[in-house]
Symmetry: C2
């Protein structure tokens, strides 16, 4: 559930008056995204999403995020495109917060992905990776491996409240991954959060990708590992290898994996599982009871991490070298 920043009629009037979008027909706060306040905005010019960026987003990153959406849309990817005001700015301010208007995408996210959804997501992720090529700005991954131990230190004291021996297990996993994390794999722009709620489908076809607010520069195959974890496990946290094979084949058909990427995929999947385990564990232990945002259970990703520990090679995901 999203946070809502309220604004006065006068503030909104002054803000929207800077754009060339005609008369405003309606504006509704929508329950989308947990980081920002989002409004569905209808004007004579069409449908848009107005976003007010709240504290968890670093304002210094906004030119990267908005520029990236513009770059990707220009390369033919279906994603929200920032709308520039009459002065040519995509980023403005409303109610004391950075604010932007982006185009609205039709489509519905799926709650329970099927095999064909996984195939389409693999394809779209590879298209995103190719389309990101040539984008002038860069952003380091604030949630990559070097951030995991500091995050662990913030919550290790209470980790065992969530699962027996979890703190020691995470520490051993950090030691393992830090000793092996790869450095030579192909890099580029990654989405870094391509979960089912960030992908829209329309009549069975993928109709767009949203929420680029974790995007950054990192290993492309790490993004694949994130999506593998997000899309290919069943609700009992068992891997559906048919879905994994479909996602990886979809990706490989657009951007073929290198041999090194295939060899490293189990480790990247372990890393991705650890990253979401750690952020969810931190949120789980620090969000006050009754807060607007209900934290996600970290155990789902602990189970995924343990699954990947047992994987010998990418063949377990249906991908052969």
């Amino acid at each position: 559930m999203a946070v809502y920043t309220e604004f006065s009629d006068e503030e909104f009037g002054a803000f929207i008056g800077g754009y060339d979008l005609g008369t405003v027909l309606s504006i509704k706060g929508i329950a989308e995204g947990v980081e920002n306040s989002n409004y569905l905005l209808a004007t004579e010019a069409g449908q848009f999403v107005l976003t007010l960026y709240e504290k968890r987003v670093d304002a210094a990153d906004l030119p990267f995020f908005l520029g990236l959406m513009e770059h990707l849309a220009g390369r033919g990817l279906t994603c929200p495109t920032p709308v520039r005001d009459r002065a040519g700015n995509a980023l403005n301010r409303l109610a004391g917060r950075p604010a932007a208007i982006v185009t609205f995408l039709s489509g519905l996210s799926v709650r329970r992905p099927r095999v064909e959804h996984c195939a389409a997501v693999g394809t779209a992720l590879a298209e995103l990776h190719l389309a990101g090529d040539g984008f002038a700005l860069t952003r380091r991954n604030a949630l990559s491996i070097d951030s995991w131990r500091p995050l662990y230190r913030l919550c290790h004291g209470r980790a065992d409240e969530v699962a027996p021996n979890l703190a020691a297990d995470i520490e051993a996993e950090l030691d393992y991954q830090e000793a092996r994390w790869p450095s030579g794999l192909p890099q580029g722009i990654i989405h870094a959060d391509l979960f089912p709620d960030n992908v829209f489908f329309l009549e069975g076809r993928l109709s767009g990708l949203i929420d680029f607010y974790f995007a950054c520069n990192d290993m492309l195959a790490y993004d694949v590992a994130i999506s593998l974890n997000a899309w290919c496990f069943e609700t009992d946290v068992s891997l559906n290898v048919t879905k994994a094979r479909a996602l990886l084949a979809g990706y490989n058909g657009v951007r073929p994996f290198t041999a090194a990427e295939i060899d490293t995929l189990p480790l990247l999947a372990r890393g991705s599982a650890l990253r979401f385990l750690l952020t969810r564990l931190h949120d789980w232990l620090t969000v006050p009871p009754g807060a607007l945002v209900v934290p996600k259970n970290p155990l789902e990703y602990y189970k995924k991490l343990r699954f990947h520990r047992g994987v010998g090679d990418a063949g377990a995901y249906g991908l052969d070298r």
Copy 2:
């Protein structure tokens, strides 16, 4: 902030398949109404609002509410109109809850009404009262004067936490109003909750009324008193008599007040203030800290109540007999 009932793709598919609305293009939870879960639904047939009725709405009242919207829309009032499924039903079930689809209304609610908004609301309220005539169903006002003392009893023990001597003051007010509450005034369908967030404007003109989930049969002038309290006070809770005069003149121009209504208006305004003081006091004292719904401060209506106690006749509102 609204509650959200989640539903699966399959549940939603089965539900929407019963309607003749074409392909679903998007569905977004919206932050509108605190009683129900509301979704903005776009299909090939247009824009709609899907409502799942939560526990605070009595399912037995739904045929009244939906039938009323259909009746009022048929009489030319701009309000959401229920969409019937292929079997002719306006009311169905989704995720274990009663659910209905109504047409979407363009427009924006105003946060700080100006005089012209108050005039338009007075006119629209009178039009609603005339349009309600002939509606076949009836619903007693569950929040009329006979409910106030039981509501007071639920929270009088802690009322003084909110303002010194509030419990005794409310009790004296109940005695006063119960001894004088009128019975012979013109009755009909009233909205009973026509606050600024339930009225839409587009380019300065009133474009529709929403949220009929408190509508019932009661004195028409009591509905006017509710709107007077909701629209014509400034943020410091002083009456803006120019706004009051505009609202009452707008109403009177469509449905002229009877002499008895004019004489009783100060008492009805006291009664309306007491009703919202009591429901807000109850919510204020019973909603757990950190709950999704932030209760409204009851003191605003305590101040309005005290203002109306000092009113001699409707001339104080700009309405002369």
